[in-house]
Point group: C2
Chain length 623, copies 2
């Protein structure tokens, strides 16, 4: 095996961009925030912010509308005077060292990169949960339990050896990809007494094979979406996998969380795109041969890697479908008088078999957020913008407080895109929609990648919030969004939250049977006795109303630890037992002891649980 | 729960057609053949055959070209003098009766229909494996072990009770759907000493709910494709699931074998179409709530029902996506100078994103089979047909011994179909293809449903054969078809088979990464010492060369018992162990003891197998 370090580094920083990726790097004060450290929101003056750097379209220009928008919505003053730059983390407990394990590991792989400094340990002990992880870290709090060591394997052989040693010595492994998890999946179980090793997979980022004839690539699972796409693009190819975290998240992480990308209409969700994956477990590799488009060969164990959330083993390799770069890429945007009209439009688009790579619908608040992130316009630009607004609101009678926007990406051959556009524009009128032009479509997608930076900025201003997503049948969309809106208001009022809560949402995916609804919620934490607890109570209630209204526990974020309390409500008892039996077969010593989803309860407990005959079945926990 | 018997019966016989479905019915001599007993091939004279009845487009007219075609290809005489009408089955061993089980079952459900007559037992002890099951039965042979009882549950509660009782009393259950399995999955393990009960699910054929808003129906899993489509059609809907066995096979059977329908481009394969399924196991129900389009909620145990082949439990219910009946349905057919040109065309169609509901490519032999099944043409029809042939062969220079045909079904809105047609016809010329007209397209699909009747007819004439399918990457298609052709010739010659073997094939499905290749092979069994053994040896060799050349073990037929010897070649050891652990969790007493795929080896053996640490991993059995 030969490899070029240069290639790795170049890939890791993404097309030679100036900023550093979010990689452990001592010396930075807040290494725990989202994304690249060249990109941060900051105040230019008490009312104006800007995004630093030149990485994003939004960056490098004053944004005069954003803070007024935030203040107006929250009904509380928000300014530089509220900025808390964050406290250094409390002193970290010394790492647990399992010396015989370490000695054997070092002997077997002398070149293996190991880290046990505070920063590396802390960075690898959390994901990007907004409140429980980032907000608490900003306040100087340190998780109860941290990883003791970070290992950076460079090949499948090293991963196999690591897993074998961990199994033999009773060491816990937690696979680490882009660190972008938002379900608490990377958090260490607080009472774990064994040594915990974070396995940072980002050194395993090679493309092992490009098979043009069959349209697939074989990749090491530590490759990030950004690296993957940059290298594929150079070959005239794309995977089309674009989750919001594409810059940082890895292919292995996508599989482990059963991820979804915004262009799934054209390129499929991760379970559609991955033809095969290798899962290295303490009891061998789960894999299928040969690689074929589809098969019927009994129960396919390797499908269990999807959604396994680090609990069965490490995904080391994946065979991923790729496509030629589309000949044509075209954006569009539409506005509708209200959310209901937009939903009807999306549904008719789906029913008519029109499949743009992506089609999204933002509610009024998210639409206005997009507007609020606009730059100060001067001259003709400002005039055109004002005239457009006047036309939409005065002439067409759209209510600025109700209107919503739909953004579209069309990809494919010229003929495909033409056909999609014809279908989309054709259906527009009967739903009372108006075209908003391609530029607004493009901007809509660009804003996506700034959301997490906004979250970090607001966090520092004492505004805490989180994204929350669900999969919902078409018939339940309005009930779910309505219930979340009502419950959030009620919950905040009940708990004495200052001002008003923020809630925006979008439909990010459409299917034959329904959609993914992606909420962003937040509120002012100032003055609350225990903001983190308040947040959890409220988030829990929102999740409950979503389930009550027929939404799923998660469309693509997964269960992790924060949604574990709901596992028995969605999975039947027999399902949970079966999944635990599987775990015992592949990982009897609970090496992969992160304890997410059905593996939350101590495994020993599950193991001793007597199987109940059908007749004595207890309620399967459904509402 | 109320139900209308009339409704059930009408459904079961399919839109009031005259013939009886293949349902246990004492008194018929050969109740074991495929399909409906009003539809059989028979000789009108020594050179002319016809398909009886009026069920199929092919039926009711003399087919003068078929026998000459068969003779020419096989190089042996085949006529009425070779017809063996079959022998009555040998005497059946008395059924095993577990009296306490039966007493409890009868007490709990006095109205439950039970059968233990010879015919019912024999019919439920096999599927439609051509040689091992049908050919042997025609020769009067009876399987070594038969089911002892046939039960016809009418609801989920009865299935649950049955499973509970079987588990308590040590009785084996084998779920039975349409009886169309072609992998030996319905065969009883020869050495099973427990009572074996066949659970005929066809009484559970209700549509429980039609949800138009979300585009799904909830069905009992015993509903056949034909019943389902007839009832959906009355509602203006379709599931679009059209496996070749659609008339007889059930939704539960589709799930258990991970089936694929010819229109998967539009409607998806079964794993895409089923949003949720309930699997009743001895240790409870495997299910997920609520029903949503897609989710990320940890490892999804209910996905394990797909491909479980009756080994974990009984699928009682499914939530299946449905679609409005297409506004436009349009057939097309194309001819190409040779198979290679046709494959290149299919690949370009796929790459261009053109997705007709179905597109298939037959090789030259299968193309000629289609021609040979034509009726005697008279007058203008005959003239046109001759002129067309002359044009294609003389003017265009197509070699009748090399040319191939592609048949297409386009479905959707007028705009969708127009777009598909434009794409398909647009690519035709650059691949040297010619349009063969819509009627030939329609005929191509009609022939599909006659194939199994032809098989039964040829079986009686001493010509034995089978279909054989595989999933293959694009780059391996020609290698696989070539290797199968060579190996079949070689194997037959080596074993002294009279004349020449028959081999035809078609590409029945296209994917981004490859295709499904569907072979039909056969040869003259006359004069062979042990035709069944010879057949098995040859079939095994063909399967081997397919695997050697990069094809899968099966695209949609499954593993069953006949492909069990290859399980360790495609699944890694850890995968097999994991699947067996799952089995022990859900069905520790091996109630679902049909012994298919990874459950072939006695479960006890698997249970006592010590898990091997990764370091002592044995080869994972790949070639």
């Amino acid at each position: 095996m030969t490899r070029s370090d240069t290639q790795v580094r170049r890939g890791a920083t993404g097309r030679g961009a100036a900023g550093r990726p979010y990689d452990p790097a001592p010396g930075r004060r807040y290494a725990h925030l989202w994304g690249y450290d060249d990109s941060r929101f900051e105040f230019l003056d008490p009312r104006t912010v800007q995004l630093t750097g030149d990485r994003y379209p939004l960056a490098g220009a004053p944004l005069p509308h954003f803070m007024p928008f935030v203040e107006a919505l929250l009904g509380v003053p928000v300014g530089p005077e509220h900025l808390q730059e964050g406290l250094p983390p409390a002193a970290l407990p010394a790492p647990l060292r399992h010396e015989p394990f370490l000695a054997e590991l070092r002997a077997a792989f002398p070149a293996l990169r190991l880290e046990e400094d505070d920063e590396a340990r802390l960075v690898h002990s959390h994901g990007q949960l907004s409140v429980d992880e980032i907000y608490r870290l900003l306040a100087g709090a340190v998780p109860e339990r941290l990883v003791d060591l970070v290992v950076h394997p460079r090949g499948e052989d090293e991963v196999q050896a690591l897993v074998r040693l961990a199994d033999r010595h009773g060491v816990v492994l937690i696979p680490y990809g882009g660190g972008t998890n938002v379900s608490g999946a990377l958090a260490c179980p607080p009472h774990e007494r064994r040594m915990i090793v974070s396995v940072d997979m980002r050194g395993m980022n090679r493309i092992l094979e490009i098979d043009r004839a069959n349209g697939w690539v074989v990749v090491e699972a530590g490759i990030t979406g950004k690296e993957l796409e940059a290298r594929l693009e150079a070959e005239g190819l794309t995977s089309g996998q674009v989750p919001d975290s594409v810059e940082l998240a890895t292919v292995g992480g996508w599989i482990a969380t059963n991820a979804s990308g915004m262009k799934k209409n054209r390129y499929g969700n991760i379970e559609d795109a991955v033809l095969d994956a290798v899962l290295v477990t303490p009891r061998g590799q789960v894999r299928l041969t040969p690689v074929v488009p589809r098969s019927s060969v009994g129960i396919q164990a390797q499908r269990l890697a999807f959604g396994s959330e680090g609990g069965l083993g490490i995904v080391t390799r994946a065979v991923l479908q790729v496509w030629p770069l589309p000949a044509v890429l075209r954006y569009a945007s539409f506005v509708f008088p209200d959310f209901e009209a937009g939903v009807r439009y999306l549904r008719d688009v789906q029913a008519a078999g029109i499949r743009p790579a992506s089609i999204r619908l933002t509610n009024n608040t998210e639409f206005r957020l997009g507007q609020a992130l606009g730059r100060a316009k001067r001259g003709t630009g400002a005039l055109v913008s004002r005239l457009t607004t006047l036309f939409v609101t005065r002439v067409k009678g759209f209510d600025p407080e109700r209107m919503v926007a739909c953004t579209v990406v069309m990809e494919g051959s010229a003929a495909e895109v033409r056909q999609q556009a014809r279908g989309l524009f054709g259906l527009l009128k009967q739903h009372g929609g108006l075209s908003g032009g391609p530029e607004n479509g493009r901007r809509g997608y660009a804003v996506t990648f700034a959301i997490a930076y906004i979250r970090d900025f607001l966090n520092k201003l004492g505004i805490i919030g989180e994204t929350l997503e669900t999969s919902a049948p078409w018939s339940r969309i309005l009930e779910i969004t309505g219930a979340v809106e009502t419950e959030l208001r009620r919950s905040c009022a009940e708990r004495g939250v200052a001002g008003r809560p923020y809630l925006s949402y979008r439909i990010s995916q459409s299917y034959r049977a329904g959609v993914c609804i992606y909420f962003t919620m937040g509120f002012c934490a100032r003055g609350l006795e225990d903001p983190v607890l308040t947040f959890h109570e409220i988030e829990h209630r929102l999740r409950e109303v979503i389930l009550e209204q027929g939404g799923s526990l998660s469309h693509h974020h997964g269960v992790g630890k924060i949604r574990q309390g709901f596992v028995q409500r969605v999975h039947s008892e027999a399902s949970i037992r079966a999944v635990r039996a599987l775990k015992r077969s592949l990982d009897p010593n609970d090496v992969f002891g992160a304890g997410n989803h059905a593996f939350g309860a101590p495994l020993a407990e599950a193991a001793s649980e007597p199987p109940r005959p059908e007749g004595e079945r207890v309620a399967d926990g459904r509402p």
